[in-house]
Amino acid sequence: MTDFADGVAPAVNSGAADAAAGALSDARFAADHFALFGLARDFRIDTAALERNYRALQAQTHPDRFVTAGDSERRRALQWATRVNEAYETLKKPLSRARYLLAELGGESDFVRNNALPTDFLVAQMELRETVADAVAARQVETLESLRDERALALRAGYEALAAILAAAAAVADSQRTTPLAQAADAIRRLMFEEKLLADIDDALAALDE
């Protein structure tokens, strides 16, 4: 799985990185996923801090620690563990992180039904999939590998552009966010196709390798 966060300079704000050791307060439970892990609410995250704070919170809330605790405390720990896992899973992958942040900023969050995709983009996606299918049929591993590298670069560039759009959206007042949020939703929609394409190429390569 391609992770945009790999190789990206960590966020400057890692001073809050050790917030995970803090108390399991109700306020923290209700905070957004970024704040839960002591991260700034930004698409570019310090992945090392996320990992570190996730492990710390996981250790704090692990059911094994509450074996002898009372019912309500055990239930609370379970709720926390669930909350922490869900937040971590959402922030870990760039695509789900972007979708979450978009929704947090007040943007579109339904990607199931939307045809606001230009025909030229869809035609290009169709052609890329035809290229993959043809290469698989002809067992052209090198073609697939170079296509994978090309699409991985495109994916990375797409996430870079998305990071800038989301940062721009976050920097302005709610009333001025309409345009950047629409741009972000459009970028995310395209990236969803690119992620699927890359996953398909990886699957095809794995299948040819067997």
């Binding site: 039904r113 045809n115 995709l117 035609v123 169709m126 999939r129 969803m192 196709f193």
Partner: protein
């Protein structure tokens, strides 16, 4: 995931796969995509001078349900006028193929593909 018998039947024997030649008369194309699953669907209709859809072709990159939905739609639109084709609802597709709730979006995609193809035809031949 267990596919219904009808989905499997269309998946294993898809009807009308492919494309019409670029030079063919009365051909219109609908391209749609579903971001949630990364599916891409192309539906082509060939409309006769009498305004009836004579033939249809599809090409879909997606799951079995998406392929079955588009395959079914190519059969259903044949012999229909454009307005009749637009009456095809995703619920009918989902019912015919016994799609589970998580696959309803595949039938929505197929319905949208019909709309896109008809819109493309009308754009080319405004009447």
């Amino acid at each position: 995931m267990a596919y219904s018998v009808k989905v499997l039947e269309h998946y294993e024997n898809p009807r009308n796969v492919g494309s019409f030649g670029k030079e063919e008369e009365g051909v219109a194309t609908g391209m749609v995509g579903a971001p949630a699953c990364g599916d891409v669907m192309k539906l082509q209709i060939k409309v006769g001078k009498d305004g009836i859809i004579e033939d249809a072709r599809f090409k879909t990159y997606g799951c079995g349900s998406a392929i079955a939905s588009s395959s079914l739609v190519t059969e259903w639109v044949k012999g229909k006028t454009l307005d009749q084709a637009l009456e095809i609802r995703n619920t009918q597709i989902a019912e015919e193929l016994a799609l589970p709730p998580v696959k309803i979006h595949c039938s929505i995609l197929a319905e949208d593909a019909i709309k896109a193809a008809v819109a493309d035809f009308r754009k080319k031949k405004p009447e």
